[in-house]
């Protein structure tokens, strides 16, 4: 760093238009093949295949005139993960520099390895490892430079398969009638004409006796928690965690319904606890169970276990 009392000035050094560099027959062939979307190596006098081709091998001997098509499948050797690319890096999101050896070649080339979209600063993905199989991604417009290969990327191992089915659900008579009652602040059920059990909400039939049910019964918004779960799993469709999903046996009903219990810390909810429905303001009501916000405790003694044990 310059000392604070030194003068500084920016300076750029660039030959206008760039240098004109002749590449010779060997590298020229390599770049020509690149422009046509092919990878070639060159055979050495000792029989190996150098990629990318150079004019003289490591022993100082000139290479032969035999060019060998290599790749496009390649193998990653060593690599360096770049979690925060610099402005002049080829990609503006995390990538890896990697030594890449095409099938059929004996030497590797340093190039860009694109493993997909990652947040800046991301740790290297598990897929980044020596031995990873990759292929070149070619630019559409090629000019005969090393940049004709935009990057290397792994083969296709999975596809994204969006599946969507759009339905129009019909509530049917029983549920329509039940939700019609809810829209008026009433909780309705049916009593089975055979077993006498009261189902809330009604199904229009008794699942035990297999008969239609028609006798309507209105039950109050008070009931008893028979059992419950304290849910700590966040779910986009669920209330905040922890939330209590409880089986609430409404007074006069013979089967419990699953409902949210709130207005009490989750850890204080009990089997046998007495609760009442908390309705949203009347102006917000519709034909939906959302009219009942949740159930909250009422100041009554708990129901003894013996009285709820047959509803579990």
């Amino acid at each position: 760093m310059p000392r604070s009392n030194s003068l500084t000035a920016d300076h750029s050094l660039a030959f206008p238009g760039g240098y004109t560099r002749s590449v010779g027959p060997v590298i020229g062939r390599f770049l020509t093949e690149l422009r046509d979307g092919r990878l070639v190596g060159v055979r050495t006098a000792a029989g190996g295949v150098l990629f990318p081709p150079v004019e003289y091998d490591a022993d100082g001997e000139p290479v032969t005139e035999e060019f060998v098509e290599v790749g496009p499948d390649c193998t990653v050797g060593t690599y360096a993960w770049v979690p925060r690319p610099r402005p002049d890096h080829p990609l503006d999101r995390p990538f890896a520099w990697a030594l890449i050896t095409p099938d059929g070649a004996d030497t590797a080339m340093l190039h860009v390895l694109d493993l997909g979209v990652f947040d800046l600063g991301a740790k290297p993905p598990k897929t980044l490892r020596a031995g990873l199989r990759v292929r070149p991604k070619w630019r559409a417009e090629r000019t005969g430079t090393i940049g004709d290969i935009e990057c290397f990327r792994p083969g296709v191992t999975a596809i994204n398969a969006p599946v969507r089915a759009d339905y129009r659900l019909s509530a049917g008579q029983a549920l329509s009638r039940f939700l019609g009652g809810i829209a008026e602040g009433r909780i309705l059920g049916h009593r089975c004409g055979v077993c006498g059990k009261v189902y809330v909400p009604m199904k229009g039939m008794c699942p035990v006796d297999g008969v239609p049910t028609t006798e309507e019964v209105e039950v109050p918004g008070t009931g008893t928690v028979t059992t419950f779960a304290v849910n700590n799993i966040p779910d986009p469709r669920a209330p905040e965690v922890p939330f209590v999903s409880a089986y609430v046996l409404l007074d006069g009903a013979d089967i419990a319904m699953v409902a949210l219990v709130a207005g009490i810390p989750a850890g204080e909810v009990r089997m046998g606890m007495r609760v009442r429905a908390v309705w949203r303001p009347r102006e917000e009501w519709g034909q939906t169970m959302a009219n009942i916000r949740w159930f909250e405790p009422v100041d009554e003694p708990d129901v003894p276990f013996d009285e709820i044990k047959d509803y579990l």
Partner: protein
């Protein structure tokens, strides 16, 4: 029960979080080829193929059986798909067994699978349709209240679920196919994991697995030609009941008791704890071991937790349950029931490897599904019934 039926081949994939290296077709074929190899057969020898998996929404592939006919060598042969929610693996085996017991076919290939990594089971099980919103999130959200009811009903101590979570994972360390292999698994480790759906802790739940399992079921004449010992079907039963009805005992469902009574009656079993040597029972949440011990008649009502606590169900106990590590250690949902049935068969064939129960001659395979409303069970034995 009809004609005799035997398991002459069993094949499993290794169960993993992700099998990204294979398609669904590649996955099921892997299990099928292993079962055929065990049976000394090729696809050409198979008369019919029965496949099973859990809801299509898990992979988003509708009617996957149609696309898997080629992978399972089913061209020109009867092929059908079974679907009974989580119990489907068991039901699939029983449908295949029925084809042999009915004298229709001599060699039936049965395959079940799940590739859970393709989506998310909790999402697929909680689609929240309009008009009838539900607060139940995933299988754990459904079963947690019923586990709480079991605990209250029996007055059992809180740690019983932990014991099962440890025991089944210890067993899994002896099973090379198991998904969860937790070295040094201990009560402290289980108790240190968070409550997901209280009273269910993280390590008291099953994993999400990719995997497939397959069996070759054979008639007596075909079984006599098999290179490896057969497991004979001594009893087979399915039952179901509605998920909601007044007076339902959700903790100890009647359909499970009826199914067990039926399969025991066929197999001549009067005291399952005494008459069976081991059992592979569908226990996706650890508390379901004591609950099913009672439901399946291994003890009286309210006594299941005592059996678990006593160590009776451990690998060295008098009635080992889930020597393979069970659903708690590997859970490709659609296959999980078939794995129970196949592991029961491996025990009586004497081919269970490091988790072999010494001298096992009769074993129970069990699966349940939906809201504990579908049941499939079989009893297999080393001797022809």
């Amino acid at each position: 029960m009809g004609e005799a039926c035997a398991v002459i081949g069993v094949g499993q994939t290794h169960y993993r979080s992700r099998r990204n290296d294979v398609s669904i077709a590649g996955l099921v074929r892997e299990a099928a080829l292993r079962a055929l190899e065990d049976a000394g057969l090729t696809f050409k020898d198979i008369d019919a193929v029965v496949v099973g998996k859990a809801p299509d929404l898990f992979e988003g592939v509708m009617m996957p059986e149609a696309y898997l006919a080629d992978a399972l060598g089913a061209r020109g042969k009867p092929m059908m798909r079974v679907h009974t929610a989580g119990s489907v693996g068991g039901s699939t085996a029983l449908v295949a067994a029925g084809l042999v017991q009915g004298g229709v076919h001599d060699r039936v290939l049965v395959v079940a699978w799940e590739k859970q990594s393709e989506s998310n089971a909790t999402w697929a099980l909680s689609t929240h349709p309009p008009l009838t919103p539900s607060l139940v999130v995933g299988a754990g959200g459904y079963f947690a209240p019923h586990i709480r009811a079991y605990m209250r009903r029996t007055g059992c101590p809180d740690h019983i679920g932990t014991l099962v979570a440890v025991k089944d994972r210890q067993n899994a360390l002896k099973n090379p196919y198991a998904h969860l292999r937790i070295e040094g698994i201990s009560r402290e480790m289980v108790e240190a994991t968070p409550m997901l759906w209280e009273p269910i802790r993280y390590l008291e739940t099953c994993p999400s697995s990719d995997g497939a399992a397959a069996m070759v079921l054979a008639s007596e004449s075909a079984a006599r030609q098999a290179p490896n010992p057969p497991a004979w079907v001594h009893g087979a039963a399915m039952r179901s009941e509605p998920i909601f009805f007044a007076g339902r005992d959700t903790v100890n469902p009647q359909a499970g008791k009826d199914c067990a009574a039926d399969v025991y009656s066929q197999a001549g079993i009067t005291d399952p704890r005494r008459d069976l040597d081991c059992a592979e029972v569908y226990v996706p949440f650890s508390w379901y071991e004591p609950m099913w011990l009672e439901n399946l008649g291994f003890c009286g009502d309210g006594e299941g937790w005592k059996l678990t606590e006593s160590g009776a169900t451990a690998l060295d106990g008098d009635i080992p349950w889930n020597a393979s590590g069970g659903v708690l250690s590997s859970n490709p949902i659609g296959a999980s029931g078939l794995i129970r049935f196949a592991e029961a068969a491996q025990q009586v064939r004497g081919l269970a490897g490091d988790h072999q129960v010494d001298g096992a001659r009769r074993a129970l395979g069990h699966a349940y599904g939906g809201g504990a409303q579908f049941y499939a069970m079989w009893v297999v034995g080393s001797a022809r019934p």
